[in-house]
């Protein structure tokens, strides 16, 4: 049984893992902040959130990078660092693998969908409520 207090600590741990600005935390540091051994923390995190802390962190960084590529003109290197990655090589490789295209190609693609500069194209925030409209015929 997961006690409410542990549930809250896990969501706080998830917030720490998603942190990309100023300082980022290693899984070990986050486990310590949660008051669990890294082994126990990773196991429980995966059982509750369906992904490991490392995967959660990577998702958050990729989301941040996608956002920056969409709404700013910052260079790919700047985006890489600001999203919490430390190596441009790793960033480019992981981005291409997960998103299916290179960071610059992604930027071009979303820019072509943009109606107003600096604004996320609505195609990228379909989600939930708009899917309720049903598939296009």
């Amino acid at each position: 049984m997961l006690h409410r207090e542990v549930l809250i600590r896990l969501t706080q741990a998830r917030d720490l893992l998603r942190e990309t600005e100023d300082c980022t935390f290693s899984v070990r540091q986050v486990a310590r902040a949660t008051g669990m051994s890294p082994y126990h923390f990773i196991r429980l995190f995966k059982a509750v959130f369906g992904e490991t802390p490392k995967q959660c962190q990577l998702h958050a960084r990729l989301e941040k990078a996608k956002h920056l590529l969409t709404v700013t003109d910052r260079s790919v290197t700047d985006v890489c660092l600001e999203a919490g990655f430390t190596s441009l090589g790793t960033f480019s490789y992981v981005f291409a693998r997960r998103v299916g295209m290179a960071p610059t190609a992604y930027r071009q693609k979303v820019r072509s969908m943009m109606t107003r500069r600096g604004e996320i194209p609505h195609q990228l925030i379909p989600g939930c409520f708009s899917l309720m409209c049903g598939p296009p015929n």
Binding site: T11, I125, G127
Partner: protein
């Protein structure tokens, strides 16, 4: 007018489909591509075949905020009925599902709460016998 559809927000549709079918035991009903996502629904083999649950992406920032706030407060996003809640609890626990509440008598129903691994808490309940 009829109620035939309900939905839960999920952080990843692939992961959600796996959990809702392989673990919870529902069956995939519809899978229609909609842009980057899918109109994805499941049905319960134990329930009405035309009552569907949509697994909707939480890609909308408002959806994410709502989902996380409810989770942090420990509030289940929806509830499913079980014929034998204790047996479901044991079965799901054996599959590694994390519960935040074991089957607990709450008067007219016995309830339990689990994490769906997609960002939600889900309640399961069994009505008490008359």
């Amino acid at each position: 007018m009829r109620i035939k559809l309900t939905s839960v927000l999920v952080d990843n549709q692939d992961k959600a489909l796996k959990f809702y079918t392989d673990t919870l035991g529902f069956k995939k009903s519809k899978e229609i591509p909609v842009g980057e996502f899918r109109w994805l629904t499941v049905i319960s083999p134990e329930g009405h075949a035309d009552v569907e649950l949509a697994l909707e992406p939480n890609a909308n920032p408002a959806a994410k905020q709502f989902q996380e706030a409810m989770f942090k407060q420990g509030i289940p996003i929806t509830a499913f009925e079980a014929d034998d809640i204790q047996a479901e609890y044991e079965r799901l626990k054996a599959l590694g599902v994390v519960f935040t509440m074991a089957p607990t008598n709450a008067g007219p129903v016995t309830i339990a709460i689990l994490s769906d691994t997609c960002g939600n808490l889900i309640q399961i309940y069994q009505p008490s016998h008359d």
